[in-house]
Symmetry: C3
Subunit: 320 residues, 3 copies
Amino acid sequence: MTTETVDLGPVPAQWTRRHLLGLEELSAEEITVILDKAEVFRKALEDGVRRIPLLRGKTCANLFFENSTRTRSSFSLAARRLGADTLDFSPSGSSLSKGETFIDTAKNIEAMGVDLVVIRHRTPGSPRLLAANLDCGVFIPADDGIRHPTQGLLDIMTIRQRRGSVKGLTVAMVGDIAHSRTARSNIWGLKKLGAHVIVCGPSTLVSPRWAEIGVEYSYSLDDIIPRVDVLNLLRIQFERQYSRPFPSVREYAHLYAMNRDRLKRAKGDILILAPGPINRGVEITPDVADGKQSAILDQVSNGVAVRMAVLWLIASRCGK
Amino acid sequence: MTTETVDLGPVPAQWTRRHLLGLEELSAEEITVILDKAEVFRKALEDGVRRIPLLRGKTCANLFFENSTRTRSSFSLAARRLGADTLDFSPSGSSLSKGETFIDTAKNIEAMGVDLVVIRHRTPGSPRLLAANLDCGVFIPADDGIRHPTQGLLDIMTIRQRRGSVKGLTVAMVGDIAHSRTARSNIWGLKKLGAHVIVCGPSTLVSPRWAEIGVEYSYSLDDIIPRVDVLNLLRIQFERQYSRPFPSVREYAHLYAMNRDRLKRAKGDILILAPGPINRGVEITPDVADGKQSAILDQVSNGVAVRMAVLWLIASRCGK
Amino acid sequence: MTTETVDLGPVPAQWTRRHLLGLEELSAEEITVILDKAEVFRKALEDGVRRIPLLRGKTCANLFFENSTRTRSSFSLAARRLGADTLDFSPSGSSLSKGETFIDTAKNIEAMGVDLVVIRHRTPGSPRLLAANLDCGVFIPADDGIRHPTQGLLDIMTIRQRRGSVKGLTVAMVGDIAHSRTARSNIWGLKKLGAHVIVCGPSTLVSPRWAEIGVEYSYSLDDIIPRVDVLNLLRIQFERQYSRPFPSVREYAHLYAMNRDRLKRAKGDILILAPGPINRGVEITPDVADGKQSAILDQVSNGVAVRMAVLWLIASRCGK
């Protein structure tokens, strides 16, 4: 009952990539392929199938230059549920402090016989650099400081599950747009699938330049709340900010927290997302976080499924 | 020879729990169920059987808010010998420092598709809080600051193995009773199975209030040693003490170390236990630690077996 | 295609050891047994065979008192490709700071049912101490401060692969001979297999006493470069030095870096090795590191194969 083959069908011809570097370079069709396959995996997991050994014999390395327990765990579970072996390789300063270059570290891991590399590195572009330098190993970025494609995919998957389609929906990303990797990945994906996107937050964290790529911006959650279908509440990432972009957490919560009052003014079927970890009382109040509009834990479950889909698709195009 | 099914029989009807929160709430019958099954696993391990895939397809997460290499390793081995997948999730400040609540962290892990959660958290009651909040994931505390049920179980298992029964034995817990999680778990279990328990140590570490629940207390190991059947030597946990509860380690060792002289005054068949790590020369001298009365390494081997039994029993009552 | 049995033949009668404590105690025949079997594993890995379950049911513990992401990963992959279960046990001060002895820690791990222990500990002799104290568990040192036998073996394997034989070759170890564990292991192995060995570096890092055991020494890379067949470029281990053994990194690189100019003065088929992590621009320039003489990544791939061979050979002589 737990170890079964699942009817995924063949890898669709539209999928040709052996790297996933960001949602901005994927077509709507490619995103749809990922989401469709992720749905099959999610369904199988829900039916109690825990091992779908499509990647048996493959080794998937987690190469995390910045720690991320949550994303790493989700990728590890995804890889192991596909029957792959996993290797956690956290170059905790060790090799790097010994003077080794980033690419040498990755090539070393590849030379050990690794098939898929999931990387987290804060320097934008580092995944692309690796993808260009690794001969056969595959590269799937968890994020690189400005992108977090699997988070974007799992958010969009959750919206599609609840609403059937993303097309025509108004989706607001609220909060720390300036420091959020999630925001960027969501925006690219959502726009390709036909959603109208609003970014909303304090003027110190939301740039008017978003309008240049067709994204609406707003400094007032109260203004936009009545016409929003999906609200994605970003965490205030204090650890990534060099200066305080607003007077106090209290003031931020007053203006931007999703709470009972704002929920009353929203559409009845508003869907509320938040990429964890959430700060209860800051961007969301506990009653809303635990309420029926919230899909927060669904996002987590979809995260494993979407990573299984991505790993499977990518591995299928690897020459090894 | 290494991967076999073992004749455990069905899960006994007396076992109905899907959490293990402490020995104080278990009946003597429940403790006996665990120990009986643990014996079967221990026997199988000794016969060279290394994989008994009763939990194939299950995922067991180690959620350790406080590090504990030894307990974590023992649980991991136990889970993997049962064929389960393991996930080490050490929220090293990361998520928590980002403001996430304890329960949100656990619910996130559950949402990734985890079936069993082994938690170590220093706040008493934290396991109970989780047990009440997780819908389907099962929860087995490694300890919570005042309890350490699997250590209690493995100690009692070792006594039963060597003596056939615990009933009627005089068991002395010696040392740092005040800071020991092991002491509390042992005491509840031993009393339920009919042992007479003595707690012994410096007056700063042994409260007269133990008498209120039927536990004898003593400040002198020399006084009690002649009538003791089992001696459980607790480590002085310097790392958990805010002030020095005795003048010097030398004085402590002089009064409470189990050494050759005290061994001569003890019963000929006295059984000596110590939950690792031991401090040679403090609570126990090397000749006694390595002598034939000592069952210290047996405790470690029994630890894996008892954890296999607990994981199997708990998982059998999980609705997934 | 990925899980196959590989034709290794039986364990050769010459192999009788259940510990690997250093290359100095191995005979040329024993080294050759390891290298021959490693070749079979390397070939299988290259053919896409990823799981050769010769150690199914065995548990291999990584007991690293000093961190080493790279060596640990290589051993873990080797063990898992042989079907063994792996356990990372990093006593990060925890047990040791609690006063437990080194041997007690190891005996505890053995008592959990571990079959093979890979240890890294900086005290020379610590592996030998363990080997003498563990009854049944097997012990394979990753290194002990002065030895690093599997690094020596993988270097020699790489030489043999490229040159057919080690006998008669002139092999120069260049750089931080004084602090290198790799140098010592290489030297013993190379001499047994009939190579002529030169150690070369600043006089502060190269002792004339090497001559006593038949090793040539030199302070000038330029002097020796024309007659060298294999160059093994050691990293300057700043983290292991208490005082600066040369005026500047720039001066070191000027005198000892392998660069294009020195390559022109070397034999046309010179083979260049470097145990990672490499410092580009210090002991080797990027063009040489990435050039066709370099076998740096081959060394990494051979590392997994040589560790598979050693684990398999050692396990075959374990009584369990």
